[in-house]
């Protein structure tokens, strides 16, 4: 528990900076929108990291869970007439349900490849259903006209809402993987399934549990996204590009460290926004795909790993010079 609060204490300056930032850059500034997206994608990427980094299960359809969360939240607050706070919970719940479905389909086997395949097809299937079920989702015309969270209609208030959402979700995820028995089991299974099984762990159950938790947070992030953007288009929230954003953020930031996905999300969202001033989005995506490939192969630890290696070398030089 103490170690957990230590990490929280270390991140306090960063959080304080984010809290006072809107006071300096204006209440309706576009930069706030970018930061809101960075918060949302931090949670989304961290939920991917739970599966990809801690469990070694590569989810290539994470956008499916994100999009299901977004659409559930929007549709529930539009058609059922419930408060967006209720639909926020519903979004997490429905994503969990689909996480369970995909998990049961594909996680019962020894080969982890099945999960990758199933999630990819799952997300594409959800995208196609959303595109073509025009009566419900309005397809490519876009779903709009649903309310945002009551009391958070201005951009600055939504900024604080998203910030609070990120802090809470990341804390829960970080605490879960680093300081609970469940997180230990996840890492044990990643290192060696056979050994974990010999210690009496039901590997399949824990894998499915991991998929459900991950889908839950992805769904919540989708809901926060939906009530921020207020227009949902299937290709925007469900395409493979969204999944590749999450994966790229984690791979660039550092796999298997929830903190790395925050770094990755902030790096990717802000730099792609800055680059947009100079070139078309498509160049962004090309560079992004290239970076993702290079990082996955040549720097599997991501930016976090590179920083750690740099620190080690510098401290080695210092120690050497002191001798």
């Amino acid at each position: 528990m103490n170690a957990f609060f230590n990490v929280l204490r270390k991140s306090l300056p960063f959080l304080a900076f984010l809290i006072v930032l809107p006071l300096f850059i204006g209440r309706e500034s576009y930069a706030l929108h970018i930061l809101i997206m960075a918060f949302i994608f931090s949670v989304f990427a961290a939920s991917w990291d739970l599966l990809g980094g801690y469990m070694g299960l590569m989810d290539f359809g994470h956008a499916g869970f994100f999009g299901i969360g977004a659409y559930t939240s929007a549709l529930a607050s539009l058609h059922l007439g419930v408060s967006p706070y209720v639909s926020f919970i519903l979004a997490g719940a429905s994503s969990m349900l689909f996480g369970l479905l995909v998990g049961v389909l594909s996680l019962r086997f020894a080969s982890r490849v099945y999960f990758s395949i199933c999630t990819l097809s799952f997300a594409e299937t959800v995208r196609i259903v959303c595109r073509n079920w025009v009566d419900l989702t309005r397809g490519v015309l876009g779903l709009w006209g649903y309310p945002t969270f009551p009391g958070f209609s201005s951009r600055m208030s939504y900024y604080y809402f998203a910030l609070f959402f990120m802090i809470l979700s990341i804390s829960v995820l970080y605490f879960l993987v680093e300081h609970t028995h469940v997180g230990l089991v996840f890492r044990a299974i990643k290192d060696s399934e056979v050994v974990a099984e010999h210690r009496g762990i039901n590997v399949t159950i824990y894998k499915i549990l991991c998929a459900i938790i991950s889908a839950f947070f992805a769904g919540l992030a989708g809901s926060v996204y939906a009530h921020h953007i207020l227009v949902l288009i299937p290709d925007d929230v469900l395409s493979a590009a969204v999944t590749s954003l999450a994966i790229g953020m984690v791979v660039i930031g550092g796999r298997g460290t929830i903190i790395g996905s925050i770094i990755g999300a902030f790096l990717v969202v802000t730099t792609s926004e800055l680059l947009r001033a100079y070139a078309e989005v498509i160049y962004n995506l090309i560079i992004f795909g290239l970076l993702m490939t290079i990082f996955a192969i040549y720097a599997p630890g991501g930016v976090m790993g590179l920083v750690k290696r740099g620190q080690k070398q510098i401290s080695g030089i210092i120690r050497f010079s002191q001798k």
Binding site: G56, I128, G289
Partner: protein, 289 residues
């Protein structure tokens, strides 16, 4: 009704051609290629461009070469570095799969940049029809079936009648023993990767005058190919062939009843049912649980 079966077999032969690449890759290296649909599109676009400026037959010949080179480059620059990392075996495969997923994003947007978002189709270069057993077929479509059968036959001869094919099959069973027999496994991995990609590219090239090509269609095709591979049993060549034909016919009849846009949903349902009832697929023998 018979037209739907014929069209289904046509689709099936395309699926057989492209999915065999995935089967080879999984069978030998135990990895999957998330960019397979994009390689298929790359082959198709290459053939489209070449047939625009030169002979369409040149495009048909060049595309597989482009695919082969891409595969070699992927093996050399992505697969070998991953193999050398000192991490658990399963984690290596996962890193490679992530890298190919990045590659799919890269290729998809590169194609979007070069050829634009609007679907394109090459000119038909065979306009007549052929008549086989009373079924009339466009020559262009017949070429697809004929080329698919010929290529698969050559592939089978390669796999089951040559020394390199023998080494590949050995490699899929036991890496250490194969190495001990003096086989240069690195070259084989690269060759295998090249063949896998060239099959996908050839598939794209052959259908470029028949179906529309669009950069965003790659992911959907990858999803369909995986459904085929799972239905046939991961790593089973015969299973992939049979399930390609089955799912091709299923798709063309489902297009009749539901419409083109739902075909991936049908594939996903088929895959789900297979995974629930018989996860080893039609011909799979691998112990899964």
């Amino acid at each position: 009704m018979i037209e739907y079966v014929v069209h289904g077999l046509l689709l099936g032969s395309l699926y057989a051609l492209t999915s065999l690449g995935l089967v080879l890759l999984f069978g030998v290296t135990k990895v999957i290629n998330m960019a397979h649909g994009e390689i298929y599109l790359l082959g198709g676009y290459a053939a489209y461009t070449i047939s625009g400026v030169s002979s369409p037959y040149l495009g048909l010949v060049t595309s597989p070469f482009i695919g082969f080179l891409t595969g070699m480059v992927i093996a050399r620059s992505l697969y070998f570095p991953v193999e050398r990392l000192r991490i658990p075996e399963a984690d290596k495969h996962m890193l490679f799969i992530v890298a190919t997923f990045g590659l799919s994003t890269l290729l998809q947007n590169l194609m979007l940049l070069i050829w634009g978002a609007f679907p394109v189709r090459a000119e038909l270069f065979l306009s007549g029809t052929v008549n086989i057993f009373g079924i009339t077929m466009y020559q262009q479509r017949f070429l697809l079936v004929a080329l698919a059968i010929a290529t698969i036959a050559v592939l089978f001869i390669f796999l089951f009648r040559t020394k390199a094919g023998l080494a590949l099959r050995a490699l899929s069973q036991d890496v250490e023993t194969t190495k001990a027999m003096g086989v240069k496994t690195d070259r084989l991995y690269a060759l295998n990767c090249g063949i896998a990609m060239s099959l996908a590219a050839l598939g794209g090239a052959v259908v470029s005058p028949i179906f529309w090509l669009a950069p965003s269609a790659g992911v959907e095709l990858t999803g369909k190919l995986f459904a085929i591979v799972i239905l046939g049993g991961m790593g089973s060549v015969w299973g992939a062939l049979l399930s390609s034909l089955i799912l091709g016919v299923v798709e063309s009849t489902s297009v009749f009843f539901l419409g083109q846009q739902w075909s991936l949903v049908v594939f996903f349902l088929a895959m789900s049912i297979v995974l629930l009832i018989r996860p080893t697929g039609i011909f799979g023998e691998e112990r899964l649980v």
